[in-house]
């Protein structure tokens, strides 16, 4: 039965060829079978899942389905607050914390009828990088469990790729949705800043943080975004807008779409591997074949985008954690505490210069969007590295290919483009101007209608 898309499951529910309870039980069985190797879940909420599934099944039986997400097995990244269920951010500092209410996005997804299977592993407090000194082992890549998932939405990507859930929440501050989507061969959308409310989600860096959907396909991400987006009175950055009707516009195609390829990002600034580059070129040829206009575009160097993003992230993260870091330093994992304490060395002058440079970079991106509808680059420069070989200080050394769209706040999505020389997934990033989420999803959907990379599954997930 698995893997299955949300659209396929909803269709099967309507046709009565599959029930939400059957699908929830199938997912729970897969979790029991596979998650001992993957560590994607920090908590499985079996009783809640079966209760949710029975309620959805009853609604569908009465002809009162709440929509395409009714009865869909789902799980939340463990920085997303869930009423009555521990929300740890995978940190000893938060161990045992049980929110009194759902995060805004979690409440909206529950209202849409999703079936909550549990909470998913995150890198500590959503700062990407595997830690081995926490009570929660880092999630493993289902394509090769010796490999990194990417992060920080590590459990979300692993669980979807292995068919343990159909979809999940992720969060993205410098790439934490798109990096694991690339490495695990799934689709993940960082929506426009402010489109999805963040109240109840533990922040990493407020001016860069986004919450978004992760799933197998762009179509599924669109269905999720429709449910997740909406005014959040408790999030000061909430745009007060919804995403109604986004899924209905997916079929628009890409004929005449002006695609700008930020080639210098992945060919010069942070050079990608031959396999990643070859798969991107093949993907661009698919777009050309579908009638899109593909041409190169130049933006400021990737290192500038990354310097702005990383400086702001470290400074804001330090401001959030400083009171606890000073008094409970040893409770944090070494990777998190040693990276974030460095934020104390970023003075107000550097932080404000980063914010001022950010405005200039946003202006450069806006200029590029006068001549292009979407921008494309690779999402990560390589296939998944070995989990023990992930650079500790990569956040300071390498230009993150995903960071530009956190700096601007525009929507950006990562989707699979094939496999590299090591047999592991590769991805492509499609970004757009603010609130062009539907256009980004439409372009990704057109690509996925013409290819089947997003339907591939890891060998461990078969059967």
């Amino acid at each position: 039965m698995m893997p299955m898309s949300i659209a396929e499951a909803a269709s099967a529910f309507r046709a009565r060829s599959l029930s939400p309870v059957e699908l929830a039980k199938e997912c729970l069985a897969r979790i029991a079978r596979l998650d001992t190797q993957l560590h994607a879940f920090v908590a499985v909420t079996e009783e809640r899942a079966l209760a949710d599934a029975r309620a959805a099944e009853a609604r569908i039986g009465r002809g009162e389905a709440r929509g395409p997400l009714d009865g869909i097995p789902f799980a939340h990244k463990d920085i997303v607050g869930t009423a009555g269920i521990a929300t740890t951010s995978c940190s000893r500092v938060m161990q045992g914390q049980v929110p009194a209410r759902d995060a805004h996005a979690a409440a909206r997804l529950a209202e849409a009828g999703t079936v909550l299977l549990g909470k998913l592993t995150t890198h500590e407090f959503a700062l990407g990088g595997p830690s081995f000194d926490l009570p929660w082992p880092p999630a493993r890549n289902p394509w090769d469990t010796a490999r990194f998932t990417g992060g920080s939405s590590s459990g979300s990507a692993a669980a979807i790729a292995a068919g343990l859930v159909l979809a999940a929440t992720g969060s993205d501050t410098l790439g934490s949705i798109r990096s694991p989507a690339h490495f695990c061969g799934i689709t993940g959308l960082k929506p426009t800043y402010g489109l999805v409310g963040r109240s109840g989600v533990f922040p990493l860096a407020q001016s860069l943080d986004h919450v978004g959907p992760m799933a197998r396909s762009a179509e599924d991400c669109a269905l999720l975004l429709e449910a997740m987006a909406g005014a959040d009175p408790e999030d000061p950055a909430s745009a007060g807008r919804d995403a109604a009707g986004v899924a209905g516009t997916l079929g628009g195609g890409v004929k005449g779409l002006r695609i700008g390829v930020v080639r210098h990002f992945h060919e010069r600034d942070n050079r990608a591997s031959p396999g990643v580059l070859a798969n991107l070129e093949a993907a661009l040829n698919v777009f050309r074949g579908l009638g899109a206009e593909v041409r190169d575009v130049t933006l400021p160097p990737l290192a500038d985008w990354h310097a702005v993003g990383a400086t702001i992230m470290l400074a804001e993260a330090h401001a959030i954690h400083a009171p606890w870091l000073r008094t409970r330093f040893a409770q944090y994992g070494a990777l998190f505490r040693e990276r974030v304490v460095l934020g104390a060395a970023i003075g107000s002058e550097a932080y404000l210069n980063a914010q001022r440079r950010r405005r200039a970079l946003c202006a450069a991106m806006e200029q590029a969007f006068r001549d292009h509808d979407v921008l494309v680059s690779v999402a990560q420069p390589s296939e998944a590295p070995e989990i023990g070989a992930v650079s500790r200080w990569g956040v300071l050394e390498l230009g993150s290919l995903t960071s530009p769209f956190n700096v601007t706040g525009g929507p950006a999505l990562s989707l699979p483009t094939g496999f590299g020389a090591g047999g592991l997934p590769t991805g492509m990033q499609i970004g757009g101007p603010a609130f062009a989420d539907a256009l980004v999803l439409c372009a990704a959907h057109a690509f996925q209608q013409a290819t089947d990379w997003h339907r591939r599954q890891p060998p461990m997930a078969a059967g």
Partner: protein
């Protein structure tokens, strides 16, 4: 400030209220050097690029 050498990260962190073990500080010294390289890319914009937001005490009033 730009003309003065940067104090070592240990001193910066001590002033910020952190009393960290030597091993941690040694590792952070390397990271701090990387941070300085990154911050060097963030020179303030030219005054003419931000005429409305830049404080210019030398300007006639």
């Amino acid at each position: 400030m730009p003309d003065q050498p940067q104090p070592p990260v240990a001193e910066i962190l001590r002033r910020a209220g952190y009393d960290l073990p030597a091993g941690t500080l040694a590792d952070l010294g390397h990271a701090h050097a990387l941070l300085q390289t990154m911050l060097a890319r963030l020179a303030p914009p030219a005054p003419e690029a931000e005429p409305a937001t830049v404080f210019r005490p030398e300007a006639p009033r």
